[in-house]
Amino acid sequence: MYASIKSFASSFFVTGDPLIYGADVSIGLTTVAILFVLFYFKKWGWLWREWLTTVDHKKIGMMYLIASLLMLFRGGVDALLMRAQLAMPNVHFLQAEHYNEVFTTHGTIMILFMAMPMMFGLFNMVVPLQIGARDVAYPYLNAVSFWLFFFGAMLFNISFVIGGSPDAGWLSYPPLSEMSHSPGVGQNFYIWGIQISGIGSLATGINFIVTILKMRAPGMKLMKMPMFSWSVLSSSIIIIFAFPILTVTLALLFIDRFLGGHLFTMDGGGNPMMYVNLIWMWGHPEVYIVVLPAFGIFSEIVATFSRKRIFGYKSMVFALMSISILSFFTWVHHFFTMGAGADVNVFFAIATMAIGIPTGAKVFNWLFTMFRGRIRLEQPMLWTLAFIPCFVVGGATGVMLAVAPADYQYHNSYFLIAHFHQVLIGGVVFGYLAGIYYWWPKLFGFKLNERLGKWAFWLWNIGFYVCFMPQYALGFMGMTRRVYTYGWDLGWGPLNLVSTIGAFLMGIGFVFQVWQILYSVKYGERDTTGDPWNGRTLEWSIPSPPPMYNFAVVPYAGEQDSFWEEKERRDFAPAPPVPVAQLEAIHMPRNSGVPFIFSACWFVAGFGFVFDWLWMAILGMVGVGVTLLVRSFQYDTDYYVPVEEVIETEIAAGRAI
């Protein structure tokens, strides 16, 4: 009995590495601390009512944001571990297997559990406000999406201490990810963590398409809509076309592993290259899913801080839409070396380069918007300016990679690593950070401290170039990706050391940002106007933080940048208060605990599948079915905020007379 428990525990809990014991201890301590605070301050009711059951898009947005910052930390620690390992030749700080696990979890977490939720956080925090809506199209589904992401991410993350992490790379290519090569549970964690959160992402895509198409304020024609909302629309369109492919691909891989299928195996007639095609049919569009909203953010910021209307609005919209279509015709550039033949490679090389045209058009539009503008260098604008050169270089090296014959040289080298980090950090991360700095005062009611922000900005930027420029050179010197150590004789040592220093500078930049947030919570400049940046779009017309129903009176938005135009007419005077007589009862959705429980059931099912414990998987799936039925039988799902409450709230915000 004792012996069997012991042998179970030794395979269930990951052992043998001081790092992991450290993680065990810190996870345990954090959990105890959180539980203690909740019990001691009797916060359970508050937590449940205000957060776990909320369907308010602004709160859901904040939860996405917090979760994604935590994931940025986790992914960042992984990155620093790898850079520490590679800092010098012949280091044995991480063993080979451990290195494989770290680059796999780093890539997966950064893309799926950091970039995606940070993007969804911004969608949620901004889109309804920007289009003058009181909510998203399906608030309940929105909560489901968040909790699916949350539990999916948790499932993926516990693989670090329970069962063991995946180690077949962030795209889990077979045969490495098949039973024959990865018999442990790591790949199962990968499959189910992503699968569960991916269903949530798909639902968010549907939600925002309908929100943007159907819930715009009266007068806001599509061609009058703010650029960020346009970018969300195009990103959501890519989501609904790309994510079903991911869902199927992961399900098929799971069938191979769980039921002994032969879809992608080396034997039984399976075809591993089929998996590689499928995963990149999702994977390449995925890159555009995360980068297009960043483009939208830059467009808003450039216009606001140059005090000019965005240059070439129509061409911006056209560029977004053509990128979203073209993104589906480039996937083969990830494996030009597959051996598909010159004609196939040429098609995909040309399609890839074609994307450079609309992207370049956007860069010129931003530059022309700034040209002769009255530019203010506040934090959001700083990150936008830093983005432009970074993205131009990243784009240029991308075109180099797209030259099919040359790719035989760069393929899987450090050149590639440098390129995609340049676009992912320079484009996506800088973009979302700019967006967070920009919209933070709207959602939280205070600005983030400028001085600490500047420190973070310079550390990130300098660190970035110090880290990744040497990697282009290392690529040419023959260093390939996913090597865990190298010898003195290769001469890669000095550049790797420089690169590691840069990575740690970025890490310090992140610490400054955390400090900046904590500091600003207490001392940050409060925003009493609702319009701290002298903004152009509707979200700046309401108080910060916005009341639960957003707009007391649904605005009319007949022009592009209608809030700005209105202010111009009023000579920059703040919005006049709303006469109480105009206020009415407001229709709102009710909170619900079902999304949380439903997603927790998915977690249980996923955990069961990971460990091949059928009873647990069935229990979870039954829970999923029952919660769906429970929701189907609920009819009392919304209510009216009474006029008196609306009046009170508006008076408290100084907005009603």
């Binding site: 159907k214 879809l263 039984g268 009862a585």
Partner: protein, 210 residues
Amino acid sequence: MQHATSHSHSNGAGAHTHSHDHGHHDQESMKVLGFWIFLVTDCLLFGTLFATYVVLKAHTDGGPTGKELFEIPGFVAETFILLTSSFTSGLAVLAMNRKKVNQLIGWLIVTVLLGAAFVGLEINEFVNMVHEGATISTSAFLTAFFVLVGTHGLHVSVGLIWMIALMVQLKMRGVTPVTQRKITVISLYWHFLDVVWIFLFTIVYLMGVM
């Protein structure tokens, strides 16, 4: 106008009317639109499975082929039953538009029975194949086959449970804007599964036995 009716369920009084409520969008029709978009994603899901099947169709690895396994009377009967059920679900929607609750529920029952018969036949087909030694792990072709056809069967089974739940709700509440939207949605879903089956019938079964 529609909302006034649907909300009167939730608070009994139905005191508010639509004229009060600017910026309140027609939620029932919006939900139907969302469902259409969901169907687009489901199309892609099946599209990906079909693509996998077509790529792996010839990869039998020395195991049995479709020609040896598929039995014409079986899949022809399945096709016939499913097409009929699509028709009866259409009749259910017609009854709903004329506000005839009992007739509506009646046609839904017929649809559920036909759907259940379809699933039964499919399970029977799978069991027979497994007895002949053609299992999901026999070859890439068979994995792709079971996954593709099984996913469709799973969709049908989910639809059955869903339809039964809706019948209970119809009994409890009658035809309201909300139940009306729910029935519209499931009938869309049901027709969609029918269309998918036509592709299955052609690409998997007909081309398999040819």
